[in-house]
């Protein structure tokens, strides 16, 4: 490549990078800066006198704190544990027994979960939870998330299980271990990294989802931070903008921390291109 062309290409590259970086950074940057400002502002501005007063006010708000530190955690951790446990058992079984059509089964599951989405199935899901008497309960939210996220969790976990060598399990059995002992002392330690990935993935999904708690929960004292944030910024006026942004920042911190952790530990990959 000759020199002027090369220079032009480099300039083009940097212009493109600056535009993309600005477009993606600005909305996020505001969320990072606004909570530390004294006055309500909607523009990105580095606060002249940074303050923690907004966080103090948020911490004094019982409803906000309950949503974030009790309800969101109950729902996200509950669904995370249930999804990880069930997906691990299922994926283990699918990778170790020979059932006719098990690959088809997994394909059909994925097909199903992408057809029966939250927005398509919100009516029957609501009615089902209503008939079960679980409207406005943590259990209802956890169960619906578990059903919805399981197919993808099983799919990822099965991939992981199939990459594990069977020889450890075989030697455990040859040495006289029972099936349960083998599962507990051989399979469980080997699958821990896979379970960790599924757990983080499930937690982040449930923590950040809005529609399911929005239709299934009614009373303020069961709302997770996802719906609490929404009711704050739609019902409150501008004076509390700084408070809501402080709350929103607290709310995204776990996801941010998990992203950094995963990125540092494994490198952020992606699993057959599936987020939710």
């Amino acid at each position: 490549m000759n020199l002027p062309k090369y220079v032009l290409a480099r300039i083009g590259f940097y212009v493109f990078v600056v535009i993309v970086a600005t477009a993606f950074a600005l909305p996020l940057l505001w969320l990072l800066l606004a909570p530390f400002g004294r006055q309500a502002t909607l523009a990105v501005r580095i606060p002249s006198e940074p303050t923690l007063a907004n966080f103090v006010s948020v911490f004094r708000n019982a409803f906000a704190m309950r949503a974030l530190f009790v309800n969101s955690i109950i729902q996200a951790v509950g669904a995370m544990l249930l999804i990880t446990a069930v997906a691990t058992l299922t994926a283990y079984s699918l990778s170790r027994i020979r059932l006719p059509g098990r690959d088809m089964f997994v394909y059909m599951l994925i097909l199903f979960s992408s057809v029966v989405t939250g927005s398509a199935a919100m009516v029957p899901i609501f009615l089902l939870i209503f008939e079960l008497g679980l409207i406005d309960s943590h259990t209802g939210v956890i169960l619906v998330f578990t059903g919805g996220l399981l197919p993808v969790a099983i799919f990822i976990m099965r991939d992981f299980m199939q990459s594990l060598p069977k020889s450890y399990e075989e030697s455990a059995l040859v040495n006289g271990a029972s099936t349960l002992q083998m599962l507990r002392h051989v399979v469980l330690p080997l699958t821990r990294p896979g379970m960790m990935v599924i757990g983080i993935w499930a937690f982040v999904n449930v923590w950040g989802s809005f529609l399911i708690p929005f239709i299934l929960l009614r009373s303020p004292d069961r709302m997770p931070a996802a719906t609490a944030t929404y009711s704050f910024y739609t019902e409150a006026g501008t004076p509390v903008i700084t408070l809501v942004s402080a709350y929103a920042l607290l709310y995204i911190l776990p996801v941010l921390a998990l992203y950094l952790f995963v990125n540092w530990r494994y490198g952020f990959q992606f699993f057959g291109g599936i987020k939710s």
Binding site: V86, L111, P124, G147, T229, Y251
Partner: protein, 305 residues
């Protein structure tokens, strides 16, 4: 040894294996398969949330569907046809934006490492994975007419800002959705481009191909499977996305009443579960066509390799 033979050389007996599958069957059956069947049944009734039709819904045959496809009114704003029309624009705009931008970023950083790439990839990925309510909130602030960041920037260039969410609701949620979802295409394409053997590109260089020729004749054909994947999955996801509700609530005057928001409104604001279910059946049929075409394409590819 004997024990292992009894198991038919398998680690798990079939009975134990099937027992492990039971919990998944229960959850998926109850919370995925059952709603799928039930929504069909409800769509033929006049079921509501409260009142007589809640306790004892009547069978109304195709009534709900005829109401949706009542062509004398279906294109009026707030009606089903109008919502489909907005959804098509929203999906096509998001699709073109996400795939082009994702491909451009992946291409620009192909075989590059370093801080710059790290920063861009982190920002784009965070836009994708952070909780939707927090993102919806920052975007309402970003697009605010009087004091939002976007208008402040435009003002610096002497351009008069507008109330984006009120005057251009559909454009706003489309741009928002491109911002939100580009990470998927970016990650997919950068993995695909990274897998291209350097020797192919070197051969092209030796043959004197320019960057555009190199992209069109060598790189693009090699990543076309991922390209199809991105097209189908982005369409499927965008078609079902509810997140724009957090920016506009479907308004103003139904200006951003995309199908997921429309379903929510009919079912949970008008409490017409029967009609809401009929919409859901149509949405799921379209989903099924998209998902099936993707999966069968995927299987064919696997058989081929």
């Amino acid at each position: 040894m004997d024990d292992l033979t009894k198991r038919g050389n398998h680690i798990l007996s079939v009975r134990a294996g099937v027992a492990l599958l039971v919990p998944a069957f229960v959850f998926i059956g109850l919370f995925l398969f059952f709603p799928f069947i039930w929504v069909f049944l409800i769509s033929f009734t006049n079921r509501t949330l409260l009142g007589a039709a809640a306790q004892d819904p009547e069978f109304v045959g195709l009534g709900n569907y005829l109401r949706l496809f009542d062509f004398s009114r279906w294109m009026r704003s707030g009606e089903f046809g109008h919502s489909l029309y907005l959804t098509v624009i929203f999906v096509i705009g998001s699709l073109i934006g996400q795939v082009t931008l994702g491909l451009a970023i992946a291409f620009a950083f192909n075989r590059r490492r370093g801080k710059l790439r790290e920063i861009i990839y982190t920002l784009v990925t965070l836009a994708w994975i952070l909780p939707e309510t927090a993102i919806g909130f920052t975007w309402t602030a970003f697009l605010d007419g009087r004091r939002g960041t976007l208008n402040a920037i435009l003002g610096a260039f002497g351009i008069e800002g507008v109330e984006w969410l009120l005057e251009f609701p559909l454009l706003s949620i489309t741009v928002f959705n491109i911002w939100r979802g580009t990470a998927f295409s970016m990650l997919l394409f950068s993995a695909a481009l990274g897998n291209i053997r350097p020797s192919y590109l070197e051969t092209a260089d030796v043959a004197g191909a320019g960057p555009w020729q190199r992209f069109r004749d060598i790189m693009f054909p090699l990543i076309s499977p991922q390209f199809v994947t991105a097209l189908v999955l982005v369409t499927l996801w965008t078609f079902n996305v509810f997140t724009p509700f957090l920016l506009t609530g479907g308004g103003p005057a139904f200006g951003s009443d995309i199908i997921a928001i429309h379903t929510y409104r009919v079912a949970f604001q008008f409490f017409e579960f029967g009609r809401g279910s009929a919409i859901a059946v149509i949405v799921m049929t379209i989903n099924l066509i998209l998902a099936a075409s993707y999966l069968f394409g995927l299987k064919r590819k696997e058989v081929a390799t």
